[in-house]
Symmetry: C2
Subunit: 423 residues, 2 copies
């Protein structure tokens, strides 16, 4: 085997800080835009933030409509409806997504399908879709994350449920990446503590999974057309992950406890951005793969701080529940990294006798303190559910390929079983 | 005063590693390009690298011409000549700069003036020019640095000498930033050790100056149209600077001593890239401001490893000569940062009793070991030259504004006088 020698690193331009969201009109004008669509969900729209952003854009000569019909956890149907809205009210020459991953991903799909021909289904990742690549450039997309966690502002993917096939899949192409991420910590101050806890665990796992991901130079040498946005752990993604973990160590518990602590909110927003810039290039692995079925097969769990119309396991929570067990399994592939990550995330934790326990303990202590449920049992799963969960995980081969240790269905089953109760 | 709360961060996309330069044709095809101009200087052209890159591009259907007429230390005349060549042989739909800062900056000027109206002089920074902003988007520019140091692949500026006015100035606009930086350490293996030493000191100073720069939140709040690419030290530029210093500590002396040590070359290429991504957003200050007159007023100095047709002080060397004294002066503005930078750059150095001496000593030890001349006296200046040098520095107000401590002509004169001999 010829080892890979090349890594790639892509990122949106960044504007960070309180007040940054007021300047989007200026930034859009720099791209030559005059008419933009603001894409958001009803919950975020109700805060008034998206309309304020649209109004502020007018100061710089940008005419803006607000579309507030994004479905949280978007589906092919919800994305088609958003696309219909954009087509019926457009043409626009820029898009601004205000919200969590759902709004940002919906805007990516709108951007793709208003600039390129064909149907949504053709662009979906194989085997669900044909993995078609866009032929034409997309319009500038400005991503304004209001939930500190998803990292969607940095990534080249959009994730959706295909209703008829009951499968979560996505579209992945470098052109989907937003041109500019505007991160304004003031937009997250109203976030309930349960949401801060869950979405914060998403940040933690982005950082830990990209840091422990299979290294880019352990893969076989690729030709340029084989390169993928997620190229494995590399010196750039490592740096973002380490810095993100240090910020989380400093401010995660405080942000959950004191939602109006502006320094903690700013640190969390920065940690989310940094982790997104890291995993957006390195990739994530087992905890994120397990999160798909944990969220998708939910029974009756209703988390605090979220709308309670329907049962759900929030994304960050679903990612975190098997993380301690997953990192016990991956430990032996890169022991020193697992220990160093634990030291960054929990600098005050006593060093356990068994170094393989260091990172799991750091995670368990944090999850316990911020009110994450006690394992997948805490969100309603029993041992009888494990086979169906494993089946869901094994469909996420794109993510499992980034694991530093090879995984089988048996390994995943063990991880689920040991994650039924955590403490 | 209302303090600034916002910082900005922009960067090219990055492809890093041995063999990365062979894939440029594929990357250009992704931008929809079919005909590109490779811009380089005669010295780099003589290595055969630019022609090999142009030939490899054909594999991906890109037709490429090589222009090897870049003047090292470009002038308005040399840039106009390059522009004439591009106009006479174009139109092109992408540019590829292969070389040091001179080639990359010349390609930036060609890109600007083949996509936008008006004369070069209109775009120059005030007061020399009118600081005109480009109205139309530029073409994709791929920067392939072959000298590890300049950071031109990351920045939004191009620097040139205006011959008639005998002044060094530049053009500064976010649109000048290359779309993609392709950093292939294999391209630097042939670099003579004197060039590695000088250009490496440029990396060191990029990292140290951006790390000690006036922090972004100490400036007065700007409106979006007042924002400049160099926004002062911020959490993102700090991270790049710290990581760059750690790589330099590990590999700079080795790269000078053993030019064919591929790990050291790769570390230096990464250090240069990281430092460029940092200072390309934070800015640089006193050592870089002093470098302008040190290089510009050269008498008879001819450095080892450089073409000896004409006297010159290489850019990195000219930056480094006053750096120890400059950091003695700035120490009191941010003592803890100066000490931490010294610890990163020279982890094995004994801690001096006076912490203000820590960073200067780390620099002096390094400069001595790698054969940098003993101060500005070592490149031919005497105390009698100081007034003219000070005058040259004081013209660089854009850089001096980033100093963490306010500077006057008297301060600069003291720094020059104390830098006549260093050890």
């Amino acid at each position: 085997m010829t080892e890979e020698t090349v890594f790639t690193y892509g990122a949106p331009q960044l504007k960070f800080g309180e007040g940054a969201a007021d300047e989007i009109g200026y930034d859009l004008a720099q791209y030559g835009a005059r008419r933009a669509l603001v894409v958001t969900d009803p919950g975020v729209a109700a805060t008034g933030g998206p309309q304020r952003i649209a109004d502020a854009m007018k100061t710089y000569g940008i005419d803006a409509d607000v579309f507030d019909g994004v479905h949280v956890e978007p589906t092919d149907a919800s994305m088609r409806a958003a696309l219909e809205h954009a087509r019926a009210n457009g043409p626009y020459d820029a898009y601004v997504a205000v919200g969590g991953g759902s709004s940002i991903d919906t805007a990516k799909a709108i951007n793709l399908l208003t600039t390129n021909d064909g149907d949504l289904s053709e662009y979906l990742n194989p085997p669900v879709g044909a993995g078609r690549a866009p032929e034409r450039p997309l319009l500038p997309l400005v991503a304004v994350p209001t939930t500190t966690g998803t990292g969607a502002e940095s990534t080249t993917v959009c994730v959706l449920d295909v209703l008829e096939l009951k499968v979560k899949t996505g579209i992945s192409h470098p052109r989907l990446r937003p041109a500019l991420a505007v991160v304004d910590p003031a937009l997250t101050v109203s976030q309930p503590s349960g949401v801060t806890a869950s979405s914060g665990m998403d940040i933690v796992c982005h950082a830990l999974e990209s840091y422990t991901a299979r290294p880019y130079d352990s893969y076989e040498r690729k030709s340029p057309e084989q390169r993928v946005p997620y190229c494995g752990a590399n010196p750039v993604s490592d740096m973002w992950a380490e810095r993100s973990l240090a910020l989380l160590a400093k401010s995660f518990r405080t942000a959950v406890r004191e939602g109006d602590n502006r320094q903690a909110r700013a640190d969390m927003a920065l940690a989310a951005t940094f982790a997104g810039l890291g995993f957006g290039n390195a990739g994530v692995h087992i905890p994120h793969a397990n999160a798909y079925p944990i969220a998708g097969q939910v029974k009756s769990f209703r988390p605090e701080g979220y709308p309670d119309e329907e049962p759900m396991v929030p994304h960050g929570m679903s990612v975190s529940l098997t993380a301690p067990e997953a990192f016990r399994f991956t430990y032996q592939a890169r022991p020193e990294r697992h220990v160093h990550a634990a030291e960054l995330l929990a600098p005050d934790l006593d060093r356990p006798n068994d170094p393989a326990e260091h990172l799991p303990r750091a995670l368990l202590s944090l999850m316990h303190d911020i009110g994450i449920p006690d394992g997948i049992g805490g969100v309603g799963y029993t041992e009888g559910d494990v086979p169906a969960l494993v089946e869901g995980t094994m469909k996420q081969q794109r993510l499992l390929a980034t694991s530093p240790r090879e995984v089988s269905a048996d390994v995943i089953a063990e991880i689920f079983k040991r994650s039924i109760a955590l403490w």
